[in-house]
Point group: C2
Chain length 410, copies 2
């Protein structure tokens, strides 16, 4: 395939990829305590009501509300104390008119009672008699059966990324295991005769593999399981064989292509040989990252990332991250932190493509400034020195110093 | 200690806690590939220059820039092709005036050359002769030694939360292991005679433990290691013994206190018995969450969280999360996602305290609305149904429907 290809805007490229991919994730059953950040496979309904019994929300006396009507400091209601509600058990008594019972926060409301008079609004007259100096309404200072969740109520939808409170909520209902989307296994192949593993001494002309690790980090963040297959030499048969093996064992294949045109062309050819429909997008209207390949074979997404570390990172962030969430049944990835800042420099841009510029955030004069980190797209430290990315939209001719911009943080 | 205590604003409470805590984390050496989200223990300087050799950023011909000066399509420069730079090795030749050599993207610039003419701006006249139709300046289409990182340059500060690009950058320098802050071990004790484990059937008056799991999730998110010690019965000696054992084995102790006043008082007494200086803050000007205890014993932070699930979550989010980052040497936790939205309801608030209200985000009429999720602070599902928290500042008498508000997402 030629170097000069038709480039697509990211949204169109993504839609083209997704037209060929499965919409239902693989399910797996795990312990709820291990489910932080995982995605629900199915909607979850509550098997029971929470709370399962009426509870007090205060320390005080369980009463019949009618017995307190009109009560005040000058005209208290007097009630007979018949006992104390034990914590964690049902009271052994029922409440009759003009009776009350000591109850603690979280304790069960005895049958017959329908409100709790706060301890602060009561006075103990004797061991048997309590003075109520403030009226309470029906249901006051109590939580009803099912007030938190009713039995059968939908508590979480499918495709929901589980947060700390969700785990607590599910465990509170006794749901100790649940079905979540399996974590997508993502095979990573690095290519390039000049690339050596990070633990190698670099000889003349050699550089260490960076992309396998930056992209692994993004995969992990998106809930995927990176499987690094190491560095494949720039040889068609070797790359084809490695790609076939890797794809068979994974749900997603990512090739971090060599950066020269000949190696890129070889990567495209290898990808096309993996199965139908093959390459769907060759070239995206994104800078850096134009020579990106999006493909599908054996029902699995395949990405040919550019070789330059900055391009590979930005493309993985733009395309691989949302794909991994989609494969887990989550159509919209969780929102990323972003901040508004004032741009410090003019940034030219060609219309028709999206530019992504690494920026550093600087606090100065009580304001937040976004300073572009200039550098070629093969310099990984432009991203290390940056706090986030600034997107220049495709309809702009660039941005001017002093403009307010939104920075998407890493 | 009495129920009526002096409440402190969160910032003052936090400062009081931090005056008594160590500022240096424990270090641990780990593999860089496993370091995503971990915090650097020390500043890291580069052991070498990256790249270690001058590289081409284009496919083309390595040249001496002076040999191309004035070259154009109508008046090309003609250079002698003396060879091809192999990928991943040093060229075996040097470049003399009027010579050029084929070089691929990422290839080493031969000695004598100082620029690369892009292949698109050249023409092959014969096997030995190349026509250059566009002049290149010194350094054009090349990356110099150390242009990404210079040897000895500080690449990351201490206390930095490691991101995907940081791992790639460090591995690119051959730094395959690094010293990070050890993950704080956080012991969690739940109390309450009414509380049973999530895998239990609940009898009358019993509820399942929720706080151990919501707080565990927040601990994990902040880089800590939750160690759940289960549910301790409401008995002073049992709680004291469990707290002592748990504190000895951990870096942080969290007690999720029972919700009744008597149990809260017992928790305060147990905390005070663990060592000096003991309780520093008893009561914070936060709703929900007022009856919070912040303490230090044996040089370790201790938190007495309120028993209500919503209060426990909000207080853990406000105090435990930044404490865990601080214990890892990171003074400012990573920024959290937030969005602006329009408030749908009036929200009254008492001045002098911060209120935190769970809100649901709703997209309607092309705008984002923040709808409060109303419900008592013992209803965990008010947080499950919410997308984030709205903070009502202490100097406000509340917020009005229609106001623009900032929602901190979970």
């Amino acid at each position: 395939m030629s170097e000069f290809f038709t480039v697509l805007p990211p949204a169109d490229a993504f839609a083209k990829l997704w037209a060929h991919l499965p919409t239902t994730p693989r399910a797996e059953t795990i312990s709820t305590t291990e489910a932080l950040g995982r995605v629900t496979f199915e909607a979850i309904a509550s098997p029971e009501s929470l709370p399962a019994f009426p509870r007090s929300t205060m320390d005080g006396y369980a009463v019949r509300a009618t017995d307190t009507f009109g009560a005040s400091a000058t005209l208290p209601a007097y009630l007979n104390l018949i006992g104390e509600v034990p914590m964690g058990a049902a009271p052994t008594f029922e409440l009759c008119p003009t009776q009350c019972a000591l109850v603690h926060t979280g304790g069960m409301i005895p049958t017959g009672a329908n409100a709790v008079a706060q301890i602060e609004n009561t006075q103990k007259v004797s061991e048997q008699e309590i003075e109520i100096i403030k009226a309470v309404g029906v249901g006051e200072n109590t939580v009803n059966v099912g007030e938190d969740v009713a039995q059968g109520e939908l508590v979480l939808p499918a495709g929901h990324v589980l947060r700390a409170q969700d785990l607590g909520g599910l465990l509170g209902l006794g749901l100790t295991t649940l079905n979540v989307a399996a974590r997508p296994r993502v095979a990573l192949l690095a290519t390039g005769d000049e690339v050596v593993p990070p633990d190698s001494h670099t000889g003349p002309g050699q550089i260490r593999d960076i992309n396998s690790y930056t992209v692994s980090g993004l995969i992990e963040r998106a809930g995927g399981l990176p499987i690094r297959h190491g560095i494949i030499r720039d040889d068609f048969d070797a790359l084809r064989e490695a790609a076939q093996t890797a794809l068979a064992q994974a749900d997603v294949l990512i090739l971090s292509a060599g950066s020269s045109v000949s190696v890129r062309d070889m990567t495209a050819e290898v990808i096309n040989g993996l199965g139908q429909p093959g390459t769907l997008v060759h070239g995206v209207a994104v800078k850096p990252g134009k020579p990106t390949i999006l493909a599908v074979a054996q029902g699995k997404p395949i990405f040919g990332l550019p070789g330059n570390p900055v391009s590979a990172f930005i493309i993985a962030d733009l395309f691989v991250t949302p794909t991994l969430y989609r494969l887990q049944g989550c159509a919209t990835p969780p929102r990323r932190p972003s901040v508004s800042a004032t741009l410090t420099h003019n940034l030219p841009s060609a219309p028709g493509r999206e530019d992504y510029v690494p920026v550093r955030l600087i606090e100065k004069d009580n304001a937040l400034w976004a300073e572009p980190v200039f550098g070629k797209s093969n310099l990984i430290y432009t991203l290390v020195r940056a706090d986030g990315l600034l997107r220049i939209p495709p309809d702009a001719n660039g941005l001017s110093a002093g403009e307010r911009v939104e920075i998407r943080l890493f």
